[in-house]
Amino acid sequence: MEKLVALIPLFPALGFLCITFLGKNMSKTAVGTLATAMVGISFVLASLVFSTQLHEGHATMVKVFDWIHVGTFKVDISFIVDPLSSLYILFITGVGSLIHLYSIGYMHEDEGFNRFMSYLNLFVFFMLLLVLGDNLLLLFVGWEGVGVCSFMLIGFWYKDHANNDAAKKAFVINRIGDLGLLLAMTLIFIQCGSLNYNDLMISGGDIASLGKWTTLAAILLFIGAMGKSAQFPLHTWLPDAMAGPTPVSALIHAATMVTAGIYLVARFSDLFAMSEMASQVVTWAGVITAVMGASIALTQNDIKKVLAYSTVSQLGFMFAALGMGAYSIAVFHVVTHAFFKALLFLGSGSVIHAMGGEQDIRRMGGLKNHMSITYWTFLIGTIAIAGIFPFAGFFSKDQILAHAMENNLTVFVLLMLAAAGTAFYMFRMFYLTFHGKFRGTHEQEHHLHESPATMTTPLIVLAIASTIGGFIGFPHAIGESLHVHHWLDHFLSGTVVAAHSHLDATAEIILALVAMGVAGGMIYFAYNTYVSRGINALEDEEINSGLHKLLLKKYGFDELYDNIIRKPIDYIASGLHHWVEDKALMNIVDGSGSSVKGIARLLQGLQNGQIITYLLAMIGGLIALLFLI
């Protein structure tokens, strides 16, 4: 059965090639169907593989061919099938196919439709490579591949340089992380002599031979994860990445690619478990990101920006969990998050579709009467992310909080704040978008409509998923009676270091209630502000409180990096170019030539044509030689 796994990445690749080379003489529908079908097939295969994993949850390697064999350095194109990877490919292909389907409707008008579909297929291919590879180098292939796809898709509308800049920014910042990953690889190979998970962790355990390098290796890996998963301080690219079409934001920048970092850390849970310090770093990066993302999201008015920052902050939650050793729970949150965040993005896409490209929630309002499906599904997504029982978000987030509570109270409080913020800004956006009266222009209002079926179907499916998706990871307290508690934890235990909360049932329940209480309070607050009192969010120029401005400016990270990194580099480069390249080196090279001539000019004085001089030189030479003897 596992042998099938080799085919899973194959189909999207085929899709990409077909559309690229044969796409010109195919109808848009045909292209769309082909692309979706390819990912769909992969999804079927993935679920088959997953089901086998359900029964025997051990890791199997499927080697395709030798890749790089140099002396002791041996790396193959070879896939790993184990609970972690099978879970990942399941939701990647699942959500992926849904989003493909959605894109058929969403991008139908765009002239670059074929290009878009082929890129999406290529992305899925690399993403599958990333999670299926059985060694770091193959993971790196996928890692960079998804980076390029994200580059191409963010800059999909390449005629506007703003998009291209966003794309470039995403790629370059990702490269910073990639360098960390590269160095981690070289270090691990030098110390452990292999890059295969099998040798390193599963059966070999060579990772232990890192010795004093453990922490460094872990941190380097985490730097890689930071770049991909937009963790502080490398988070600035993700919000800009919203320049891409909405399905891209849903697929790449919410559901799958940005969670690759979590995959990496979870994959190397043995390594991180060995280094206390690295875990601390991960935790705090996560916490800071979570709080920062949530706080910024409070003030954003672009519907996609809000979702982007909420993604940042949710990723923060996941890394906090990883740092606290709750690897399986982080993965759990990845899955649930994939469901509801994809749902929210697609919903927002549907809204933008209806609003004719308008993204500012201050220009919306009262859409619920016009687009009921979008409204209800969006509501489900919002509740789910706010963490209300029994929606998916509740379980995962609740358990992260539980871990925080027993590990470190400060972390717990901060995460609680972030959770509260999440509830507030999500509902703020929700109310501003769907409730109240319409604040847009007339032709927009006239144009309002529900999206086509290709777009609503994915919404419904994802809505269902985000409703029941949480049940794969029941918390101890509630699940005990049903004998399904921590099912995911057990399922993954073969791969990642298992660590489920040891709070007793009552504590868990109290915690859950507190969390929900806070969320509920926030929701009420939002309702009170934006629905009952009908207040609209402030226009930018009306803002006068400093904190608000700071949040609106996203703590000014972009400006900061501009000033402390990009500008200095340009300055140094141009300085070198002017002083070293053009002045110093040239003068040395050409100067050496002219100095020879200068010396010669001094000698030229002697060659003055006078016999006397020549005689003097001869006699002088003679005398000199006589003295030299």
Binding site: G593, V596, K597, I599, A600, R601, L603, Q604, L606, Q607, G609, I611, T613, Y614, L615, A617, M618, G620, G621, L622, L625, L626, L628, I629
Partner: protein, 447 residues
């Protein structure tokens, strides 16, 4: 002995031909006698070292090598310069003088007695004084002749004084006796002083710094064919004689002289290459490059075990190359001018001349796989490990050398043009080209 006779009689014969109005026979006669000399060396090659006439000369292997090389050069010179010499009108005198100085050059290779050395040098030089000044109307030619004569005679009198002192110390002019004396007796101060003065005399002849000042002026002023002769055959003969003397008879004293010679080599290389970069007159530039090659030639005295084949090889390679260069120089100079810009666009006017010039210059610059490279190679590899610092100086200066050789090539192949017309001189060129290529490429291997 027969060899020397041929060369000596040659001059007389040439004068006789003039009397009988048989100028057209001169060139064949000379060629034949050169061939005869080569044949003679070939015959004697096998024979054991034979000393003749009361130890005056000795036809040993070194001498035969030297003779054959000088003869080859002379023959090549004749082939390339014949037309130009004829053009001067008084070819018989010139040929006769050339023949005499050639005879002196041969003597330089095989003397075993200081008297013979002195005579050889004088036979070699005195015709040259005349030849240098042979362009009667031309003031530059006169000036060069006069300078050469005056400085040359001073140099030979210094040399003579050295000879006298050595005679005073060793009571003999015979090199073997002197060699034996120096090997047995403790060195007499007179010998040292005498040696220094002889060194000066020779340094002047091969134009090594600081006794080189005459060379650029004389080379520039003298008629180009004569310059070619002086730069190749004469310089070769001088260095061969010097090598024979210092590496042979006085080798005992070389330990004391090595330092001095190294310094002279360094000075020569630096001054000559430096000065050459400033020249706009190509002929003068070639003169300076000739001086820099004298530096290389002189440095063969420093090679442990005195690698005479390195010396011979260098003379031949450098000689052929610079003869080619001077031939092209003569044609361009007589038709357009001697300044650098006279060469502009030569590649278009006569690709062949340009190609020959380029090959010659690159060979002198020591670019592989030309002979000049191997010449430098043998010397540098000989010095490597013993005078490593000198090899580095040689390398650096040859980069400088590359610069001024390249300037000419640039001008020839560059885009700029001068209107002047140019016609190749003589049908011999293809043959000459063949010979040159053969010697410059192929024979790199056979030594």
């Amino acid at each position: 002995m027969i060899i020397l006779l041929i060369s000596a009689l040659l001059g007389v014969a040439l004068l006789a031909l003039e009397i009988f109005k048989l100028r057209s026979w001169m060139m064949p006669l000379m060629l034949i006698s050169f061939m005869a000399i080569l044949a003679g060396t070939a015959i004697q090659w096998g024979l054991a070292e034979n000393i003749m006439n009361q130890n005056m000369i000795s036809m040993d292997a070194f001498a035969l090598k030297g003779i054959s090389i000088l003869t080859i050069l002379a023959a090549f010179w004749l082939v390339t310069q014949h037309k130009n010499i004829q053009a001067t009108g008084n070819s018989s005198d010139l040929y006769a003088l050339i023949a005499f100085s050639f005879c002196g050059a041969l003597l330089m290779t095989n003397f075993t007695n200081l008297v013979m050395l002195f005579l050889a040098i004088e036979i070699l030089s005195i015709p040259l004084y005349v030849l240098a000044a042979s362009k009667r109307g031309d003031q530059l030619s006169n000036e060069s002749g006069f300078k050469y004569f005056l400085l040359g005679s001073v140099a030979s009198s210094i040399l003579l004084f050295g000879i006298a002192l050595i005679y005073g110390a060793t009571a003999s002019f015979d090199l073997y006796t002197i060699h034996h004396f120096m090997a047995t007796q403790n060195t007499h101060p007179w010998i040292m002083v005498g040696l220094v003065m002889m060194l000066v005399g020779f340094a002047f002849k091969i134009s090594a710094a600081p006794f080189h000042f005459w060379a650029p002026d004389v080379y520039q002023g003298a008629p180009t064919p004569i310059t070619g002769w002086m730069a190749t055959v004469v310089k070769g003969a001088a260095i061969i004689g010097m090598f024979r003397l210092f590496a042979g008879a006085f080798e005992g004293a070389m330990s004391t002289f090595a330092g001095i010679i190294a310094i002279m080599v360094t000075l020569t290389l630096i001054i000559a290459n430096g000065m050459a970069t400033l020249q706009h007159n190509v002929k003068r530039m070639l003169a300076f490059s000739g001086i820099s090659h004298a530096g290389f030639l002189l440095s063969t005295l420093l090679i442990p075990g005195f690698a005479s084949q390195a010396l011979m090889f260098y003379i031949l390679g450098y000689g052929i190359a610079s003869l080619i260069a001077f031939t092209i120089m003569q044609n361009v100079g007589s038709q357009i001018g001697e300044e650098l810009h006279a060469f502009e666009g030569l590649a278009k006017k006569s690709p062949f001349s340009a190609a020959m010039m380029t090959i010659a210059l690159l060979s002198m610059a020591g670019i592989p796989p030309l002979a000049g490279f191997f010449g430098k190679y043998y010397i540098i590899s000989g010095l490597m490990g013993h005078y490593t610092w000198l090899t580095i100086i040689m390398v650096l200066t040859s980069v400088v050398g590359m610069y001024y050789y390249l300037k000419v090539i640039f001008v020839m192949y560059g885009k700029s043009e001068n209107g002047a017309s140019y016609t190749e001189n003589g049908k011999l060129y293809p043959i000459l080209g063949a010979i040159a290529l053969l010697t410059l490429f192929a024979f790199s291997a056979f030594i």
